[in-house]
Amino acid sequence: MSSNPKAIASDFGHKRISVSRIWHKLGDAAELPMVWLIHICGWSAILFVLAIFAFVFREAAPMLFGQLNLVEFFTSEKWYPDSVIEPQYGILALLAGTGAVTVTSMVFAVPIGLGAAVFISEFCGGKVKETLKIVIEVLAAIPSVVWGFIGVVVVGPLIIQTTGAAVGVNVLNASIILALMSVPVIVSVGEDSLKAVPDSYREAAISLGASRWEVVYKVLFPAARNGLLAAVLLGVGRAIGETMAVLLCTGHAVKIPHSLLDPARTLTATIASELGEAVRGEGHYRVLFVIGVVLFAVTFLVNLTADLVVKGIRGQQHD
């Protein structure tokens, strides 16, 4: 039973009880409970997703099925949750803020992210590749609150200097920060999907006389299309869900932004800034949970789509 040669040797001599023998006996005895435990833990992910939805929904439910007018909720710009006389819960401006920041950040992040993914995967090797990967890991590792700090103390003054805007915290600032935050996701997923294209595709193209750019443009992009799309979607998911950085960088004005230099506020930042002041169990508090349900649903959809898109390539590629 024991794989330790010393323990086996001791079996031939006088019967000695070795520590490793006890350890292995214990390990074998634990088989049944451990298998059960492994199965339970395996299911835990489903449990937690359901629990997240259930608990957020539970706090939101009285509002969602009670006084909240859903049409007004999504189409009104009036966000006066604190009003004593007549609180108004319209999240259109917040949706617009999230949309503006997400779209603008993706305008920066998608080309740069995919370009860096192509460069890392196809155009460089050895030490350059390792260095770039480390830089990407550093970008991914910097905490979101630090990104927010960087936005306020570095990017903000830069924006004021270059554009002459009155304040540095606005849609542009948050977009730059969010772009830097979501680039690592795009690069790593994009690079993985380029790596997943079989080398025989590249070899076939090169043997036909294609240059490296033609290989990338005419062979790899079509072949890795779904993976690259998934990379973009995951980046979008990251940008929508980001909280602390946008809380600090957007300028915190509940208004539909009309230009890049306007301040805005996102759904996530609203929850983060107002949940602390909202009175537990009252309308304001519950409506923040309703926003949580909306966010959960949106990111769920984005991630689901990304996942299905990735599964799509696996189905197509047979080699």
């Binding site: 740069i112 830089v135 905490p143 609150v145 869900g241």
Partner: protein, 439 residues
């Protein structure tokens, strides 16, 4: 058919034979320059005549000079100075077997006489629009050199490479610049005292010991909960789960759990741990929230580490009569421990950096904790609220007035440094353990 605007070979090759065409010169061979002609016709005639002479001298039909230039100029005095960009470039290639061509690089004339004939015909039919100052280049096409098509593709490839490189550099530059700037600003305050002193006088002085130790306990407790569950879930997904519909649902759940926004985790923490489980805002509730947040990534990294163990290892073990659990315990886990550990360590830095999930589940703006003695190492109970480094940075930025800049920068730098130190430890561990891999 007429190629224009090519790189001028006269600049790289001074041995180009020049034929100067100057209407003001009266006859052949006049002036300072050797080959000066009154018209293009006479110049062309001279070219073919010289070629015949050269051919008679040595019988090898190589076709004479590599490049001939016909320069049109106004006055003879200008002949020395300028060398104009060629208006037309023609080619001939004596290695070709074909008899015909139109003088382009792709389809050159087969020899010099036919090149002269072709140019004469072009000139007489009026298809060469030449002004004074223009010139015509006639080159022998080099074999084994790139054609214009290939050159264009090379240029495109180089452009693509530089654009992609610029995109990658646009990630490197901000990272380096930001890290350098923050460190520079924080430099005056960075010291051992900054790490080990508690915040003083309304957080405008002192160090960051209380938030630092708070972050340590948050990370420790959350990983104590998340790591076993995550590793076992990874084991289930890689070793036990078959490819059927509920495995697919579990995978989907893992992916989506990883994508849930951190602020929704905070709402979940409030709803589940603070309210439903009656933990209140506490270290325990915040740690649980962080644990749920880090769980999916631990599951994924464990699964990848397990999948990297070759199937033959398991098969060999099963053939010895070992059960699935014995195989996992003695073969699969020991061989994948490096990947599993790396995944868990990377979550240390993630948990340490997150602010939103602990914002409403247990993080405090400010707490007075013991300055000295063993109590300062265990300042928080499980049901106490805690200070955390990330939260402390947020507080310093938004809630407290008159904080000296260095303290805020210092807190940010310590947070980044902590996270990067943990990450580089993980990378080093990964490299070290990979080098000891047995397969």
């Amino acid at each position: 058919m007429i190629e224009t605007k090519k790189k001028d070979p006269r600049q790289s090759n001074p041995d180009v034979r020049r034929y100067i065409v100057c209407p003001s010169a009266s006859g052949e061979g006049q002036g300072a320059m050797e080959r000066t002609f009154a018209s293009i016709e006479t110049a062309l005639a001279a070219i073919s005549r010289e070629n015949e002479v050269a051919n008679a001298a040595d019988d090898s039909n190589t076709g004479g000079e590599a490049t001939l230039a016909l320069d049109l100029i106004d006055k003879l005095e200008e002949a020395d100075g300028q060398r104009n960009k060629p208006r037309y470039r023609f080619f001939y290639d004596t290695h070709l077997m074909g008899s015909d061509g139109d003088g382009t690089e792709r389809d050159p004339w087969p020899d010099l006489p036919s090149a002269v004939a072709g140019m004469t015909e072009l000139h007489q039919s009026g298809r060469l629009a030449l002004d004074p100052g223009d010139s015509i280049l006639l080159s022998r096409r080099q074999i084994f050199t790139s054609t214009s098509l290939e050159r264009r593709r090379k240029i495109k490839e180089a452009i693509a490479q530089y654009v992609f490189m610029a995109m990658s550099l646009s990630l490197v530059v901000p990272v380096v610049a930001i890290l350098a700037y923050l460190t520079y600003k924080a430099w005056p305050v960075l010291s051992w005292d900054f790490l080990t002193l508690n915040p003083q006088s309304r957080m405008t002085a002192g160090g960051i010991w209380a938030p630092l130790i708070g972050t340590f306990f948050l990370v420790l407790i959350s990983l104590l909960m998340a790591a076993p569950i995550g590793v076992l879930a990874g084991v289930y997904l890689n070793e036990y789960a078959r490819d059927n519909w509920y495995t697919r649902i579990i995978n989907l759940a893992v992916v989506n759990l990883a994508g849930v926004p951190s602020i929704v985790h905070a709402l979940f923490g409030v709803g589940a741990f603070v309210l439903a489980a009656r933990c209140g805002e506490s270290l325990l509730a915040a740690s649980c929230t962080l644990a749920v947040m880090t769980l999916p990534v631990i599951i994924t990294s464990t699964r990848e580490a397990l999948a990297a163990v070759p199937m033959s290892f398991r098969e060999a073990c099963w053939n010895m009569g070992a059960s699935r659990w014995q195989t996992i315990r003695t073969i699969v886990l020991p061989n994948s421990i490096s990947g599993i550990l790396t995944g868990i360590i990377l979550q240390v830095s993630r948990a340490a950096g997150e602010t939103a999930p602990i914002l409403f589940t247990g993080a405090a703006f400010y707490l007075k904790v013991a300055d000295k003695g063993w109590e300062s190492f265990f300042p928080y109970g499980l049901d106490d609220r805690v200070m955390a480094l990330s939260m402390h940075l947020y507080t310093l930025m938004t809630q407290v007035n008159n904080v000296p800049d260095e303290i805020v920068y210092g807190t940010a730098v310590v947070l980044i440094g902590l996270v990067l130190a943990v990450n580089s430890f993980a990378i080093v561990l990964r490299v070290y353990l990979r080098s000891r891999k047995k397969w």
